[in-house]
Symmetry: D3
Subunit: 340 residues, 6 copies
């Protein structure tokens, strides 16, 4: 299988239990997660040599984050130890009409105050097939934005495919700032993944859809995919389409454009949703795996969307599924029968 | 904001967890709740000076009940200490085809054996804008029925608006007894809230609807609302309409009549239901808040029904929502997207 | 009420919690269950003298299994103590698109290595009205297949009605093996219960339906029911029809043929499903109870399907419902209203 | 083994977890327990036909109490259904310098309002070797005091040995009241069990010891044992001696007098204490079992004190130990080595 | 009772459960605590008008901190909303030979970046009898050190007694820095509380004792108490003496000097320790209460040390005891008998 | 650091919680452990390249066992997948006078049915400094006994030091069988570890001590250590001495003999014990680490005994401590002070 490298922040996640609100909580479930870490975990599960690079404080919480990655077979050799703190996100899990709520406490985290020179990207990216990052990382700090740029330059120099999930986070930066940073960055990108909000916020391209109303229209993406493909010279543009009926019930579908054909995946109806955090990351990982292993682009996309549909049924940021389980869903077994 | 006073019983609630039946339980979640206490909590969350009056035993369980109220900013100065015991209700949480089940163990509770003279209603109601009680309190005992009557007289004397949620409880009294007590009592009431069952059981007015079959028809309420308005000289008559598809899935809507216009709220589809106990109370509180702060009666009603729709997603009797969150739902964001 | 005897394996069940996957679990909920034990529990709840016969190791885990049965009023006098181990099944509870997963660790269990001579079937079956077993037991070992045959012979000799739920388990044996064992065995059977998969796998009769696609067609069963009735001289043939929309949402219906009339039950829509393990057993028990107590076969079937619909809402293998609760559902109250 | 009958109240016990105080609790562990029920459970574990008689409300909480008894092999045929409520006791588990705290909410329980005529003591006591009750039951109500007297008369008539654990509860009655009721009652008693407080409070006989200071002196009991033996014509007088160093650490010893010899058991040092509620009951049960099965009175006493020492290590009211485990401790293995 | 004001940081505390290490945790218990907040809670429990002043972020975690204070009757009117984050401390609970471990993540907290001008000390301290702070607050930032100084000046101007618990935290600053800041600050202090480490680290006065070896000698304090009293013109100097036998077992004693007499409290042996965090704060609060209400200084000290001894048995930072419970322990009941 | 290889069985451990007995459990905590796996984990924590070799079934439970090892940095390249089942042990955690109880369900596990030829010992042991196994493995099956012998031959051929912890398990084999197998096996051993019971049961050498009575006498070991050293040509003989005061309180000490000097470690008093399973393994691992890194044998022994003393305070089989934490204890900080 392939060597794949991701770089970004992994945070301590503190989530409420039993549908409690923050104001009711007497305990938090804890796990670790972050866009690029989540992608690395999925790829390790599919059998790849998945490396995650980051910086973590040299204390027991930082070590616990590393332990959680190692337990999933992610290679952490290039993780740097130091800095003051691990970023935190508090997650209040919603239900039905009440959406989930995230409170970030991630400023001044170890990675956000780190520099390119602390990492060994030359060695880490050597022999890699894909380098993946998300739009969250450059939003963390000026340092990080610069660091990502330099890492992309190394990747391109070494002939590594660059994948980016735009992942706009409005609690981290404004659209103006995002565009100012991301537009130059995506020049290095080969595989560009986003959703309707991301394309608009980060790059300024708006599909014809309406996320608040929960309606999505695959056709509305064709034009911007073509334009994006042309304007940024991407190899692939991909998107997930989420129909948000409620916090517990979503429709889910994926789109992929390779410059020639516009692929649209099967549609999944997901109810109830156990945990939707990390579903975008599981799509990105599934797409990378699909494109690396399938000639048929439709199959690659189906793998990606099925993998991420399953993620919605699993607690935590990490997608705990095997390649075989994803193919079983692609091949049509969504009946939920007990296997015995 | 306004000073609002509620009077009634707060009980220890012992509920099963993880969908267990009573016969399976090895532990109970505990919280405290009761119609009027729940209303006070909501109103405190919306910024009002909310007072709850009751009588509680002077032991650690009674103190824990008070602590739970204080933590929600409810003022408890007028709560009387004494009596033998706190009322209890056991709640078996249902799911799907299996309804939730309540076992009351509330007879001989401190409040049920208390008298009007033990309380200081004159002082408590002085300067208040609203006095709220429910039809549960007069059902507790003869003492309580008399006490409520005397409290209403004080409220009227002091120019306080009186609000009553009829809340018929068939495990506490018969329809005959309920009507005998409630019909004279509602003479003091300005805002009368009920559902189809309550109007019939407590006052003898039956709308055209069928609660067992889960169908509700707003039109069926017009006639009785008009009649009630006229017969009892209410300022407002309001009702919730619940469509009980299952224990986990309800439709939810509100109605309001101000003597001139018949207002009908948006309809909410709630699935899954986390905890529907206290949803009627959150409607009453939302309506009181809406009528106190909105000139537009439609808006007042929309606030009330959205607040109570959200209650269904929150464990415990108390509605843990802010005014802002309710308005967000009124304004259309029910997509349950993660806010981050 | 009647004396009813069931024989089979009761296992330790270790199930994941909070929708975790096996790879995430740090604790397991434990309970005990098995097809025939589950039937005995239901029948004890309906007031019968329900005996469960099995062999269990003489250690604290075996004793805990017995304790769980006694707590449900099942009589365990004829359970034999000895052997090396209790069988185990690990259950990963699925959700939405992800099905539940069972891992068996039951080989070499005490019962699977036991012989007919160790048990006292003559005494146990004396005076019984029904002897019930499932197709799981003969699949455990050659010993067990022979033992069941001998037990059936005793039952027939004593005039006891024999009931069998075919319950094909593909992780225990192949279709070829199943047919080789089951076809001769069902010669002793009066009440034969199965689903579309069971009839085909165990007996070689295939209805026109498609379990993977989640569609079921009652009409498709008429022919095979008639043929089965004739070929095996059954008194009753019955089946459940499951529409597997997802792991959390099923349609549910029952069929019964008495040689003359083809009965089809009401259809239930069950969402969310709390625990569907044991739902087939609760149908079998409901049918036995229905046939023993109702002249009207339609009512017997309605009881059986309503009982098993309720089972889906209850955690664990055992169906924790009373006869009264089942009749309430048969009579139409599926609204899930809170009873208070 | 012997038929043994106990009569008394079984309560719902709601206990705090993780050393929380009542003011901190968000959930309670629940179990059921009461002096006479606890004795019946121990005796059933030792292989006796142990009957528990009581009255319980015909609701799901009452049924759960019965289920907990049946799961321990206690026979409940003579339990009467009816009445308004089950008694409750709240238990705050202490630690170190902080003692455990009990809040009773047991007034108006089903048994306390029941009469002798509701029970079938004639049949229940027929063939029994021992009838056991505690001083708690007559403290519940006038009804209960009378009922116990009548039951004792039946027992004596049928030649059944009567055993009584004095169990003074200062939250239920005063010493004056206790003596007034208990002194006539113990006229029927053959085996009288108490501790230093009980003898004084219930019968007016004070040994030379000091429970607050945690010192106990076996010698101080000799005189009152002799006097009690003589005054009430007991067959046996027995006592436990608790040295309360702290809530987590006790010394424990037993005394027995048979009119001739004064037996003193080994001394056990118990630290930490998991749950000391029910330890007195496990002594009573152990003594009954010992006297029924051992000619050597010293052995009988050693069994009783070892059984109750083990009880301190087990959560809940019921003593979950086998006869073999008790003898192992009697025979000296208190090292706590892992058995593997 | 008195008006008492405390100022400082309240943090989110995330603690491991069941003796797990950080590397094993899958969930954290959460509560809120901090030196001055803990003192305010104790004083509110003893009936005082206890005000806590701080700055907290205007998000759900900050609100939850406030809620926890209000639930304990602490007045929070003067708490300022704003800033970026709440400080956090992770607590790994030790046992036996393994000490508890604290990881601070409190830099850049709202209070640490706040200024004197944001608070209304003039109004808050008006009419107060005591103003209490700890040496932790000036260690948070230069801002906080200055702020405390200005607050002390206001207190002195208004005639408010100033109490300070030195509370040296080596993870926050060095001894050199601590002395540089604290020595000028204690000029304003009337009641100075510390332990052997604090006096040395913050003020440079070393008693003759050895904290690592777990030995403490009250006599060794006499000299430095006299010197401190003279050098800083304190009204009272007080100290706790902890004998750390292990993480689960401590000896505990208090000392007080009023310029004339050297008071030494009873000695408590605490085993097991449930949670020793906050025990120093419960001593400070007990001492303030004792000095305010008792003429007898020995009694004041006994109250303080008994209150803090009890704290060791209660989970969380807050001391959940009533004045009555403390006096019971002072008066000698440490036997841990069940009260029933 | 060194390459170290261990071979043996890793089991699923199912343990009761909150001091429950097996008969009370409704859930089990789960983890994985086994003598040699535990040693590998400790060594990985100290920075070594620790390899664990075993055979595990290719199902989700087997994968979870591997995941738990990887999360601790143990290398699992040489683990073979296959076989029928993972071994299980049930652990009832004792307290005070009640010892912990282990029920094995490990027969027919994957490793017990495996052969030498399935593993690649040549490659795994190449370059290793130590090969470690325990006396449990040869007790599993004839296969395993032979396999261990062959592995030892490979180790000796490659110049790898062989370490063996005798670990007699009376539930797996008799003393006769153990001696017959172990005496020839220890011919290959360089470092021989045992306790008083092991030396006697496995090798037939009895020190002068008495484990039931909980007394241990280091002097009593001198003779047998010398004899063992001479008879088997060991490089080191080592032993732990456990003083079992109760299930919650042990004394703990270690002994080492290198042919010249008899080393005796410090004595630790451990109370309360959180989990003593795996303490012997943590001693073995500590000793291997000590001997590999310290010239001073006394230091090596002190490291080993301190590491294992800490293990008693940590739940699960694995010793979650760092090298630094162990040295801190060796250097005298056992006060359990909070580090903050």
């Amino acid at each position: 299988m392939a060597k794949i490298v991701t770089f970004g922040e992994i945070m301590l996640r503190l989530s409420t239990i039993n549908c409690e609100r923050f104001s009711q909580a007497k305990s938090f479930d804890l796990c670790f997660g972050g866009g690029e870490a989540n992608v690395a975990v999925s790829l390790a599960h599919y059998g790849h040599d998945a490396y995650f690079i980051s910086k973590l404080p040299d204390n027991d919480i930082g070590k616990a984050a590393l332990k959680s990655l190692k337990s999933e077979d992610v290679r952490c050799n290039y993780v740097v130890k130091g800095g003051n703190r691990i970023g935190i996100y508090y997650l209040e899990v919603g239900s039905s009409l009440r959406g989930s709520k995230v409170i970030y406490d991630r400023s001044r985290s170890a990675i956000s105050e780190s520099n390119f020179e602390e990492y060994n990207f030359e060695e880490a990216l050597n022999g890699a097939e894909v380098f993946h990052f998300t739009g969250i990382t450059p939003a963390l700090s000026e340092n990080c934005a610069l660091l990502i740029k330099k890492a992309c330059i190394v990747a391109k120099k070494l002939g590594v495919t660059v994948s980016c999930d735009l992942n706009y986070r409005k609690k981290l930066w404004t659209k103006e700032k995002a565009r100012q940073v991301m537009i130059p960055l995506v020049e290095y990108v080969d595989i560009c993944i986003g959703n309707e909000e991301d394309f608009e916020a980060c790059l300024g391209y708006k599909p014809d859809s309406d996320i608040i109303k929960g309606k999505t229209d695959a056709a509305g993406y064709k034009n911007i995919f073509k334009t994006l493909y042309k304007d940024f010279n991407f190899k692939y543009v991909a998107s997930t389409l989420r129909e948000s009926y409620s916090s517990s019930h979503n429709g889910w579908k994926g789109l992929l454009f390779d410059g020639q054909t516009f692929y649209e995946s099967k549609h999944y109806d997901i109810e109830p949703i156990v945990d939707r955090v990390g579903s975008g990351d599981s799509f990105a990982a599934g797409l990378i795996h699909g494109l690396l292993t399938q000639n048929d682009k439709q199959k690659a996309l189906e793998f990606a969307i099925a993998a991420s549909a399953l993620k919605h049924t699993i607690p935590g940021d990490f997608n705990q599924v095997s390649e075989e389980e994803v193919w079983n869903l692609v091949n049509g077994d969504s009946s939920g029968r007990v296997s015995r």
